[in-house]
């Protein structure tokens, strides 16, 4: 999605729809096929496969204690898929634009900057992890359980060093609070259609929930 405003709008509606009912979750899954490029990147993401088993464990426990674990797994699984796919479509500067558009150049700029730095931090951590793995490979080592703590420490240390550098850079550029930014958005027809679909999906999921309540009564 090109327009960050429509993306945020759609993701809020789809998250609610996915959480509310299995029907909403399945329709959200179909909605994701509107952006196959991002979806393919998501499916290749290792982090997704690290998180999914945890969801599976919770679902299993729920099923054992008599709750609907399968429904939970489908809904949370698709919610994760949605979050990862939306994250794949993010481009640097978008959240700054969005926050300034929503809250203005004062607090909006600060919020946007904080989100941008956080997301950049996640990407940096991913790169740091790859570099550490490469360095270990070169030295004939493998990441094992016993050295995970030291790798974790190293990555936090790298993050803190980078944060220090970023703070210096912001100070050098005269940042105190707020800033000027001219948000620019380019909504495409596809984005508008996708947003309308998101509204419909939320309505359908509400209907599905209401039907369940009627049946229960």
């Amino acid at each position: 999605m090109q327009d960050a405003r429509l993306r945020l709008f759609s993701v809020l509606l789809l998250s609610a729809a996915t959480y509310l009912s299995v029907a909403g979750a399945l329709l959200t899954l179909f909605w994701l096929f509107l952006y196959p490029g991002s979806l393919v990147s998501t499916v290749k993401s290792k982090a997704l496969y690290i998180l999914l088993p945890f969801t599976g464990i919770v679902a299993l426990v729920m099923q054992i204690i008599g709750e609907n674990g399968i429904s939970y797994f489908i809904r949370i699984g698709i919610l994760l898929l949605l979050a990862f796919t939306i994250f794949q479509g993010w481009t640097p500067g978008e959240f700054l634009d969005l926050a300034v558009w929503l809250f203005g150049t004062g607090i909006g700029f600060d919020i946007g900057l904080a989100i941008e730095l956080t997301i950049q931090g996640i990407k940096d951590a991913d790169q740091d992890w790859s570099r550490v793995l490469t360095a270990m490979k070169l030295k004939g080592m493998h990441p094992e359980f016993w050295n995970l703590a030291s790798i974790g420490f190293l990555m936090i240390h790298l993050r803190l060093l980078r944060a220090d550098d970023q703070a210096d850079l912001l100070t050098t550029r005269g940042y105190k609070s707020g800033g000027s930014c001219c948000p620019h958005f380019e909504p495409s027809n596809r984005d508008i259609i996708a947003s309308l679909c998101a509204i419909l999906i939320l309505l359908v999921s509400f209907t599905a929930v209401r039907d369940i309540f009627i049946l229960m009564m």
Binding site: V132, T134, A135, G140, M141, S150, L154
Partner: protein, 232 residues
């Protein structure tokens, strides 16, 4: 022992890098401009990247090492001592060589990049590998340290040593010369016979060749000797 680059091609969008050739034991100097694909080729050789097509054959090579361009990429230890240990070497020896005696408990990231490079070079110089790939080992070093690096590389008599650089002054005693031209690896020939055909040769070497004097090799001593011959 030999390294075979069998029609290797690496593509990234519109950019591509290609290599085809056989590297035998000795010191191979691969020069090329910034962005010509040197680092990509170094990473391909060490198996850190998968080529888009072609095959890399490590014939008789059982151990290898890459000296990456940025020394901080190598760091996995919380202290200099632990970092040296991660290379499987005696920490004191590496610290001594780097002029960091007694500082083994310090954080590697508290060193300047030049110091870290010096330390990394000390660690690497204590490792023994069949294939050693050096990607811009001179970066962040002063002239004295560059000289030291070149002298050390000259002493590597066994195995295959590949030096990727755009350095113009300090070179080790080189056996084979290669060039990266527009993303394609080109074999120039054996040194010194190949020197006249070195397309992106440093200006002082081109000057010597222009005067009809071919240096015996690329070390400072060889170039000094060639200069004397020219004046004589």
């Amino acid at each position: 022992m030999k390294l075979v680059l069998d029609r290797i091609i690496m593509k990234r969008g519109s950019w591509s890098c290609a290599a085809d050739g056989i590297l035998v034991p000795g010191i191979h100097l691969i020069t090329g401009r910034v962005g010509s694909g040197k680092t990509t080729l170094a990473e391909l050789i060490c198996g850190l990247l998968e080529p888009t097509s072609g095959e890399l054959v490590l014939d008789g090579i059982s151990s290898w090492m890459l000296c990456q361009q940025f020394p901080e990429y190598h760091v996995i230890g919380a202290t200099l001592e632990k970092e040296a240990q991660s290379y499987g070497i005696v920490p004191e020896l590496a610290l001594d060589r780097a002029g960091l005696t007694g500082r083994g408990g310090e954080d590697p990231f508290c060193l300047s990049r030049g110091e870290l490079r010096k330390f990394q070079f000390s660690c690497l110089s204590l490792c023994d590998r069949d294939l050693f790939v050096w990607d811009e080992p001179y970066s962040a070093l002063d002239c004295r340290q560059k000289q030291r690096v070149a002298q050390h590389l000259s002493t590597r008599s066994s195995g295959i040593t590949i030096l990727f650089t755009h350095e113009q002054r300090y070179f080790p005693k080189t056996d084979y010369l290669w060039e990266m031209c527009d993303g394609v690896l080109k074999y120039v020939g054996k040194v010194p016979e190949a020197l006249p055909w070195w397309e992106h040769a440093p200006s002082h070497i081109r000057f010597l060749i222009g005067k009809g004097v071919i240096p015996a090799n690329l070390t400072e001593e060889d170039l000094g000797e060639a200069l004397c011959r020219m004046q004589g």
